[in-house]
């Protein structure tokens, strides 16, 4: 377990910023303590410092996981965000998409969402913007995150 290097940090933040923008700072400085990112076996974990202290006692080969796993670095050092990070990204997401109940199930089981399944969408969502998908009850859904058409395009289609 080790802290992230500069390079890794940069890569990771870039990825996260796609979804939450500049709110990244909020992830680190939280009211209930300082959190930090640690790298272990190519996975990035988001832990509070209290937990970090205890986890330091466990040898690397025996440690499996700590706190929340945000994602992992691939062999070519690209950062892949995991679904387990959703809970932290959702509150700070800049662009959100709400889908209708009918399309919710389809989305959960891996299918794309058509425009007809779209309930709401934030304004000014540009194309290929990373979004967080919610159900109509404001529950972040686990699913893919990239939008194909922009908001403006969508509105045009609707009207």
């Amino acid at each position: 377990m080790r802290p992230l290097t500069e390079e890794e940090t940069r890569v990771m933040f870039e990825k996260i910023a796609k979804y939450i923008g500049e709110n990244l700072q909020l992830l680190v400085d939280r009211p209930d303590g300082t959190y930090c990112f640690r790298l272990h076996n190519d996975r990035v974990y988001y832990v509070s410092e209290k937990i970090l202290k205890l986890a330091a006692n466990i040898s690397g080969d025996k440690l499996v996981s700590l706190g929340t796993c945000f994602g992992k670095f691939t062999k070519t050092h690209k950062f892949r965000l995991h679904i387990t990070a959703l809970d932290y990204l959702a509150p700070y997401a800049k662009y959100k998409v709400w889908i209708k109940p009918g399309a919710e199930q389809s989305f959960l089981y891996g299918n794309h969402v058509l425009k007809s399944g779209l309930g709401r969408i934030t304004e000014n969502t540009s194309q290929y913007q990373g979004v967080v998908v919610y159900s109509m009850a404001d529950v972040p859904l686990v699913g893919s995150h990239s939008i194909i058409k922009t908001t403006r395009t969508l509105c045009l289609f609707e009207t």
Partner: protein, 820 residues
């Protein structure tokens, strides 16, 4: 021709041959003088009855009538009177022949009982017999008279006329539905051939329960071959079931319903076999269950294990509320209810139109599928916020996540499991449920607290034999035997001691440990808990669960501590949840009690102690005498040249932490280095090392005399290879003094060794000397000490020398010199 004229061969059945043969047999029977004796075993019950009747008169006539079915001598009681017109003629002759061969009175008693059973009217082989008899008689009612003759005597004693009549009537009714079967014929033959002993048993059963199933009774007396054969031929489960009920009925009121001459153990044995057959259990497990439960409960328990428990789930209060979740699930089409008053987060699912493990709420982590009994240990543990909790065997993570939600994601949870594949499920579940304060590790539980200790609370859901979750895994019925249970118990003891050592007794809010298993065996539950009570400074406290059965304070020949009443047992048949056992400990002192028998070689089971030796490192803050016993035993096993002297000296001096650390360091090091050679040679080194450490601790002075004396004693007792010392010396040097517990344990172990004791003692004696010397002089270990050592060693015989030479060269010279 020859075979047909075999007079002893009875022909039964409706076939042509049966009818034909009868004539020949009958003819022959006239010539054979002792036909009765020879064929006595072949006599059908009817025949026997007839004979008895003839002898005794027709007192029992009514009775006989009632039980038309002929009963094979061995005791098979055909059910119900069977009068098949078709067979009548065929059997008549045969029966006549039989009748001539009246059996001895003993049979009559059997028959009588058989008759009773027949009267019950259960369709059975008896039908065949009944028909035969009736056919034979041809004249009278369905063989009742003849039967009654036979069974007169017994029946008369036990039944009132009205009862007999009732039985007869039942038998007749049964006959109406009876069918003849080949199997029955075969069985009858077998039965006939069986000794008479089997008869009484069945009779008694039938009498007691007013039920048929006569056949079952014989197994006892039947030779095993006959029994197995019968069973192998597709045992009729219905019959077996009936028999089970009969036996239980008889045993419930054994005094009055027993059969004479049959002991309770025979009944029990029969019941055991039947239960094993009916419910597909292995014999060992069934025996254990019979010890645990009274018979009525036993059947209920077995029945409950055939049926799965209801599906329950636990709301994840980190993400939702139970009310909201219930609403959401009901909208999806799930039929559910709150689990009970005792749970605020549990829901029980009656049925569901959607897969309950794949709903969006599940994927979002709003609930977890968890057995009701698995929620109980966490409720008993009652974790508070901002605590440090250890979950030693956490997979698949249900209890861990429950702990986290009770703590509201504050504090820290260390979730550990020894199984790497199952850890993946823990990771997945904890992430899904939004647990952020967990660290997941992959240690053997016995390595705690060496890895990290000082937890406020610990939950140990120990791996067990799984006898409480048979409904989930029916393979447990057959694949568990004595060895498995004992192995599990051993592992559980080790884990429990490690867990106890990981708890910080001085914690402000905690100091509790919950031990739970999903097993109902006493060896894995009460015995383990009792063991821990003896070995550590813990006491049992109420679990906080107000329902559930109390644990046993005594079981068969074992006696447990009375506080075991505060533990709780749960059964599938009484609480409708998986079998479970929960015990809650409070640790009141961080010190580890040193066993008094540190010097004794033989004491202590040692198994549980091993973990202590191996890895427990009590924090320095914890002072403690090391359990001498434990060390002793562990050492023995390891065959390390541990230092019995150390332990003894420790005990005498009141071991300080430092000392302990040193010693344990030494011992652990020595252990590490032990090889076969080392064992031989390490003794002296060990002793030297011990001595050195002791000195360093500052207590050497006090101890050295003791050591010396002990050493001398050791020397006197035995010669230990000096070489060990050599090996130990370097080890000792390199040891850090931070290890506490293992050393004393090692010492104790040494003490404990019978065979090794001698060696050990020698080693110990030598080691301290050597070590001290070594430390001081950095390479001239033997200097000052050698004289003492040599003095000690002089008492030792030569072999040590030899071994020494084998050990490392460096120190050898001094050693050899020491050895003298």
């Amino acid at each position: 021709m020859g075979r047909k004229l075999d007079p002893t061969k009875e022909k039964r059945g409706p076939g042509r041959k049966a009818r034909k043969q009868k004539g020949a047999e009958t003819e022959l029977a006239k010539f054979l003088p002792a036909g009765g004796d020879e064929n006595s075993k072949r006599l059908s019950s009817r025949a026997r009855k007839r004979a008895a009747k003839r002898r005794s008169g027709s007192a029992e006539a009514p009775e006989m009538k009632k039980s038309p079915g002929a009963k094979p001598l061995p005791g098979k009681l055909p059910k119900g009177a069977v009068q098949t017109p078709g067979k009548k003629e065929a059997l008549s002759l045969f029966n006549v022949a039989r009748g001539k061969k009246r059996p001895a009175p003993t049979h009559s008693s059997e028959e009588e009982e058989e008759e009773d059973s027949e009267g019950d009217g259960v369709v059975n082989q008896g039908d065949l017999w009944g028909s035969e008899d009736s056919d034979a008689d041809m004249i009278d009612d369905y063989g009742a008279d003849s039967n009654s003759e036979d069974e007169d005597e017994d029946d008369g004693e036990e039944l009132l006329p009205i009862e007999r009549a009732a039985r007869k009537q039942k038998a007749q009714e049964a006959v109406a539905g009876g069918q003849w079967s080949e199997e029955e014929t075969d069985e009858e033959e077998e039965e006939e051939q069986a000794s008479a002993g089997s008869g009484p048993r069945e009779d008694e059963e039938s009498e007691g329960g007013l039920q048929i199933n006569v056949e079952e009774e014989e197994p006892f007396v039947l030779p095993p071959a006959g029994e197995m054969e019968q069973d192998a031929q597709a045992p009729d489960l219905q019959r077996v079931h009936k028999r089970i009920q009969d036996i239980v009925g008889v045993l419930r009121d054994f005094g009055t319903q027993r059969e004479e001459g049959r002991s309770r153990s025979e009944y029990l044995q029969r019941l055991r076999k039947d239960l094993a057959t009916y419910y597909s259990y292995g014999d060992f497990l069934l025996g254990k269950l019979m010890d645990l439960f009274p018979l009525s409960e036993l059947v209920e328990f077995l029945e409950a294990n055939e049926v799965p428990r209801p599906i329950t789930l636990r709301t994840n209060t980190l993400k939702t509320r139970r009310r909201d979740l219930a609403q959401a699930l009901i909208n999806r089409g799930v039929n559910l209810d709150p689990l009970g008053k005792w749970s605020k987060t549990g829901l029980v699912v009656y049925d569901s139109s959607v897969p309950i493990g794949a709903t969006p709420e599940y994927l979002a982590g709003h609930y977890m599928l968890q057995g009701a009994s698995s929620m109980l240990p966490v409720m008993a543990l009652a974790p508070q916020e901002h605590e440090r909790i250890l979950d030693m065997c956490c997979a698949p993570g249900g209890k861990t996540s429950y702990i986290a939600q009770l703590m509201k994601n504050t504090g820290v949870i260390l979730a550990n499991d020894a199984n790497a594949e199952r850890l993946k499920s823990v990771v997945g579940n904890l992430h899904r449920l939004g647990v952020t304060n967990a660290i997941i590790s992959h240690h053997d539980g016995r390595q705690f607290p060496k890895v990290v200790g000082g937890f406020d609370r610990v939950l140990l859901d120990a791996p067990c034999s799984g006898t409480g979750i048979i409904s989930k895994d029916p393979a447990v019925k057959t694949n568990k035997d004595e060895k498995d249970i004992l192995r599990c118990a051993h592992l559980q003891k080790e884990l429990l001691l490690s867990a106890i050592d990981s708890v910080n007794a001085t914690s402000k809010t905690g100091g509790y440990l919950v031990y739970c298993t999903c097993s109902i065996m006493v060896e894995e539950n009460e015995w383990v808990v009792d063991y821990a009570l003896k070995k550590r400074n813990v006491r049992l406290v109420p679990t906080g669960l107000d329902f559930g059965q109390e644990g046993f304070t005594r079981f068969r020949e074992r006696r447990f501590h009375p506080t075991l009443r505060s533990t709780r047992r749960f059964y599938p048949h009484t609480h409708n949840m998986d079998g479970f056992f929960i015990a809650k400990f409070k640790k009141f002192s961080n010190s580890i009690p040193q066993s008094q028998t540190g010097n004794s070689a033989t004491s202590t089971p040692a198994n549980p102690d091993l973990p202590n030796l191996n890895g427990q490192v009590t924090p320095k803050s914890e002072s403690g005498s090391i359990p001498a016993k434990k060390t002793g035993q562990a050492k023995q096993r390891l065959q390390k040249q541990l230092h019995p002297k150390k332990s003894s000296s420790q005990k005498q001096n009141g071991i300080s932490k430092g000392m302990d650390a040193e010693l344990s360091a030494v011992s652990s090091v020595t252990k590490a280095q032990v090889s076969s050679k080392l064992q031989n040679s390490s003794q002296p080194a060990v002793t030297a090392a011990v001595a050195r450490e002791l000195k360093e601790a500052g207590k050497l002075k006090q101890q050295s005399p003791e050591l010396q004396s002990s050493r001398k004693a050791a020397f006197r007792k035995q010669r230990a290879p000096r070489k060990a010392m050599d090996t130990d010396l370097p080890a000792a040097l390199s040891l850090s003094k931070t290890q506490a517990t293992p050393k004393p344990e090692d010492r104790d172990q040494l003490v404990g060794n019978t065979t090794g004791v001698e060696k050990v003692k020698q080693q110990v004696a030598e080691q301290p000397f050597k070590k001290a010397a070594f430390q001081k002089q950095n390479g001239t270990p033997k200097g000052p000490k050698t004289p003492t050592v040599s003095s000690c060693s002089s008492s030792r015989p030569p072999p040590a020398k030899r071994r020494k030479s084998q050990s490392r060269g460096g120190r050898q010279p001094p050693l050899t010199s020491v050895d003298g």
